[in-house]
Structure formats: structure tokens, C-alpha cells
Amino acid sequence: MAFTTKKSLLAKVRAGDEISWQEFYDTYKPLMILVGNDCGLTTDENDELVQTVMCEIFQKNILDKYDIDKVPDNVIFKYDPAKGRFRHYLKKIVRNHAIKLWYKRYKDVPIESVPEPVSNDEWDAIWNDEWQQHILNSALAELKLRIQPGNYAAFEMYVFQKMPVEEIADLLGISIGAVYTAKSRCLKMLKLIISKLEEK
């Protein structure tokens, strides 16, 4: 069985590889939306948050030319490690734009009546929580590429579909022990992927 060695987006970022708009958008849009939700932004504001963050990161006014969901692959971004940890870089950009959107909502309201946006401490807690979620999600996507399909199927049925082990074994034509083996292998690999993604 040949396993794909496709790099995760975070690994590419760290290596200074080229990252396409679409890959970045698909990977980080859920994170930005979750953070926006936690900060009290509306659906429309979240859409704007994603667009403005993407444009700042790619340093292009690309949305005058293309639909945000259909930006060509040749629109790329390379992270400069001199900027520090990517996680903190992205956090700062998302926070700045989220706060701008918050104040934009109250642009016609006297400044003394504008409610305070989330504090720095609240923001850190929100970001850390959602980042953990993002790491788990990215790790699972990588796991799927690195583990044998049969093992992943057993793992998926056990963990996400919460199917009884006997049923999984019957469906996949394997023993109950093999289902547990698949689960253990996947969890072991998943922990390894997570620790790599979290590396400094």
C-alpha cells in the first residue's frame, strides 16, 4: 500500500512553501468563522472577516477580479518565518479585522454608546480553543491520507458514527480485535500528527 506524503498546510507554512488561495481558504475559513462567531459577529460580518483576512494575507485586492470561492491556483502565499509563529501572525490579523468589523457595525452610534469588543484575555481564550479545534481537524484530514483505508473506515465508524464494534467487524469482514487494532493504530498516528502540528 502506497501512502501519500502530502504535507499539511501548517508544514508547508513552516517550510516556506507556496500555498494556494484555495488551500488556505478551505483550511482556515472554518477557524475564522468559529472565532468570528465567538466574538459575536454576524454571518455577514463573518463572511467579510474571511474576505478581509484572506486579502491581507495574500496582499492582493483579488476579490475585485474573482469570486472568493473561485480564485485561481496561481494566487499564492509564502509565509516568512521571520514574522514569528504563524499561529500568532494569523491570530493578530484575524483579531484586527474582527475588531474593525465590530466598530463598523456601530459607525453611526456615538462612541460612548458602543459596546466594548472582546477583551485581549477573552480573545486569547477564544483563539486558543478554536485553534485546538483547527489542529484536531487538520490532524484528522492528514490521518486519512496516511492510514490504510480499511483501518480508517473502522476508526471512522467507531469514533464518529459510534457504531457497535460487532457491527463494524461484520460490515468490514474483520474480527472484533482487528477493529480495536485499527482504532489504536489511528489514535497513535493521530497523536503523532497532532504533536507535529503543534511543534514550535
Binding site: 485546538q132 464518529f160 472484533i176 489514535l187
Partner: protein, 74 residues
């Protein structure tokens, strides 16, 4: 009796072993630190599984909602 693998211990704790095997395993666990450690690791794995179940559903919802919006726009 030699040590038990993680998979065998998983079967033990989920009641998937025969009565005799279960008795042997239980007795072995009382004496063997390595197997006790493996059993503890399985409990840690359970925590990770629960975390995955809770957190991943949120991402699935976002992706699903996103697909729904795109489909309705077509």
C-alpha cells in the same frame, strides 16, 4: 501467561473476552504494571475519542452549512 496487547485489553474492558480469558486477564492485570499502563493508555484514548466526537461535529456543521449555501446559490 504473557502480557496482553492493547487490542486484547480493549476486548477485556469491553466484555468481549470469554469468561475464562477474562478471569486470566484480570488476574494478570493485578500483577503486571506494563499491562496496567496499557490499560490506562486506553482510558486516555477514550478521552481523545470523546474530544474528537465533540469538536469535529462543529467543523462538519460549518462545511455542511457552507455547501448548503453554495448549492442554494446555483
Amino acid at each position: 501467561m504473557g502480557c496482553y496487547s492493547k487490542e486484547e485489553l480493549d476486548m477485556f474492558r469491553h466484555g468481549e473476552m470469554s469468561v475464562l480469558s477474562r478471569i486470566c486477564c484480570k488476574a494478570h492485570l493485578k500483577e503486571c504494571e506494563a499491562c496496567q499502563h496499557r490499560l490506562a493508555e486506553l482510558c486516555e484514548d477514550d478521552l481523545l475519542v470523546k474530544e474528537l466526537q465533540q469538536r469535529v461535529s462543529v467543523y462538519e456543521k460549518i462545511n455542511f452549512d457552507n455547501k448548503k449555501i453554495l448549492t442554494s446559490e446555483l
